[in-house]
């Protein structure tokens, strides 16, 4: 399954992140994860939200430059070695990770690791499926409720 990450181009100066979070708040968009990477005087804000399409349109309406990208959100175990299992698997299959970040779903039980694998999307999905690792799509991500998602 494929998840969608929004990337927002932002200059590296005060107020840019606040603008993004302000717009998302107004649009009642819930954030699953956020990362910021910066280079020199500019950077990219990556967000994983419960409603990617909706978020994209309100951000663009506000004049921001937004790009939507396919990423894979893999469910891993929230215990020592949980992430390592996934990463070793990717390595064995020659899959390169361009960007990645994670968040906890249910403490000590489940976490999500989001990977951007560029053009190796299909291959990665296949490898994960063979290894019986669960992936979440946009819908599943939006259904996440803190601490009890997998129990229902």
């Amino acid at each position: 399954m494929i998840a969608y990450q929004l990337s927002i181009f932002a200059e590296d100066k005060p107020g840019r992140l606040a603008k993004v979070t302000g717009i998302l708040k107004k649009g009642k968009i819930n954030l699953r994860a956020i990362t910021i990477s910066t280079s020199d005087t500019f950077g990219v804000i990556n967000v994983l939200v419960d409603d990617p399409e909706g978020a994209r349109s309100i951000l663009e309406e506000a004049g921001l430059t937004v790009s939507m990208k396919e990423v894979i959100a893999v469910v891993i175990e929230d215990r020592p070695g949980g992430l390592d299992r996934l990463v070793q698997l990717l390595l064995e299959n020659g899959i390169n990770v361009g960007n990645a970040y994670g968040f906890v779903l249910e403490s000590r039980k489940k976490a999500v690791f989001v990977v951007d694998v560029g053009d190796q999307l299909e291959k990665t999905q296949r490898v994960l499926k063979e290894a019986s690792l669960e992936t979440l799509d946009a819908k599943a991500l939006s259904a996440i409720e803190p601490f009890h998602y997998m129990n229902y």
């Binding site: 181009f9 200059e11 280079s39 020199d40 500019f42 430059t65 939507m68």
Partner: protein, 432 residues
């Protein structure tokens, strides 16, 4: 005191008679070029129509665009075989203007540079370090030949490599330098870093400042730090290069060598001559140029003629420190840059949006060009590496064109002020 006493102190009426005789010759020479030949035919001007000095006004102005439109040989008044050198005012684009010289042209140019240097007190006993770029730029070779004619020992150091510059000064007892003012300021910090005091540890006595507009305050700073006399100079490649106008020991305006050039100041809007001493655009005519005579050239530089004689005894009139320009040309480290050059380059790069902004800053003692570029919305894929690649490509492409490494900042689409009509915005924060 004088390099050529007779000509430097020539009475005004004799100078003007000399100018008229030379103007007639210059116009006659020019008429054999494609550009002036066509122009004179079109307006029905016969070189014999020039009977007084005021008749120079019968000749239409020549602009930088004329030079570009007739690039490269349209202004040549001699066969190509008679040429011995070319110089260019800027960059590597087709927009650069190219000036060709015969051997006599080089000799006459060299003579006024020598005259200028001698005027400030430089002699054959001096050691002259030429801290200027040698090459297409006129500043390096122009001064080199002038100093050689004076008979000084030249250290052709070229630009850059600050520590070596200071080492050379100490090793060979440099007494005179030719340097861009911003670099002179930058070098002062390297002196401090190396623990060398130019006042006690070097024999520097004269600095020739050029290639960059600068303020009286900058001159004072340089004079104080180095413990020398700094002389302002004016030149442009269309009129040879350095040596067109130079300060004498009184440091009150730059003498224009009127035996070589006719000097006019006009209102940049009406193009009518301004009253004596009023400000306006400097217009110049070559009087001795063989290879490429240029008549009534609009320099776009704003200045005024300082009325009255100079205490030094020279009769050649003085112009004031250049106040600015009538067009948007930028002068950075001696390089002429037009914002349109930058625009052209940028618009060829995929991913660049519609607006950009040029900001000039003085960082420490260095002039810095910052180019803010809007990213095209469609280009953005969320990948930081891609943005970084775009930024680097812009730096490289601009550098290859304007010969200066700009700092490039990518900005969000729609955040820069829209360019209206006259386009391109430049913010110059270099004034102190």
């Amino acid at each position: 005191m004088y390099w050529e006493k007779d000509i430097e102190t020539i009475p005004r009426e004799k100078l003007e008679a000399l100018q008229l005789a030379r103007l007639k010759e210059s116009v006659a020479k020019a008429s054999s070029s494609v550009f002036y030949g066509d122009l004179f035919r079109k307006i029905g001007l016969d070189p014999n129509d020039i009977t007084t000095l005021e008749d120079v006004r019968k000749i239409p102005f020549t602009t930088k665009d004329d030079l570009r439109d007739h690039w490269p040989y349209g202004f040549l008044a001699v066969p190509k075989d008679d040429l011995v050198r070319m110089h260019s005012s800027s960059g590597t684009t087709g927009r650069a203007t190219v000036i060709f010289h015969t051997l006599n042209d080089i000799n006459e140019w060299t003579n006024i540079v020598a005259r200028s240097m001698y005027m400030t007190g430089m002699r054959r006993s001096d050691v002259f370090q030429n801290i200027m770029t040698y090459g297409l730029f006129t500043g390096g070779l122009g001064f080199h030949y002038g100093a050689e004619k004076v008979g000084a020992l030249i250290i052709p150091a070229g630009s850059g490599n600050s520590k070596r510059q200071i080492q050379l000064m100490q090793d060979f007892g440099t007494t005179a330098i030719h340097i861009i003012p911003s670099y002179a300021l930058h070098l002062s910090s390297v002196f401090e870093e190396m623990g060398v005091d130019p006042k006690s540890d070097t024999q520097l006595a004269i600095a020739f400042l050029g290639a960059e507009p600068h303020s009286e305050k900058t001159r004072e700073k340089i004079e104080q730090f180095y413990g020398l006399k700094a002389y302002n100079s004016y030149g442009l490649s269309e009129m040879d290069g350095p040596g067109v106008a130079f300060e004498c020991p009184y440091q009150n305006g730059m003498h224009v060598w009127e035996d070589n050039f006719i000097l006019e100041v006009v209102d940049p809007d009406t193009l009518e001559p301004v009253a004596d001493g009023d400000g306006g655009e400097l217009v110049m005519t070559t009087l001795l140029r063989e290879g490429m005579p240029i008549l009534r050239y609009r320099t776009k530089d704003l200045t005024r003629i300082i009325p009255g004689p100079c205490e030094c005894g020279r009769t050649h009139r003085r112009i004031e420190r250049i106040k600015g320009r009538t067009d948007d040309m930028l002068i950075l480290k001696g390089v002429n840059i037009f914002p349109i050059q930058i625009e052209k380059k940028l618009m060829d790069i995929p991913g660049v949006g519609t607006n950009f902004l040029i900001v000039l800053e003085r960082e420490g003692f260095n002039d810095l060009m910052i180019v803010k570029v809007e990213v095209q919305k469609e280009f953005f894929s969320g990948d930081l590496k891609q943005l970084e690649g775009l930024r680097r490509r812009i730096v490289e492409d601009l550098k290859s064109d304007i010969l200066i490494t700009p700092k490039v900042e990518l900005v969000e689409p729609g955040t820069l002020p829209k360019s209206e009509g006259k386009a391109v915005r430049v913010i110059d924060n270099r004034e102190e």
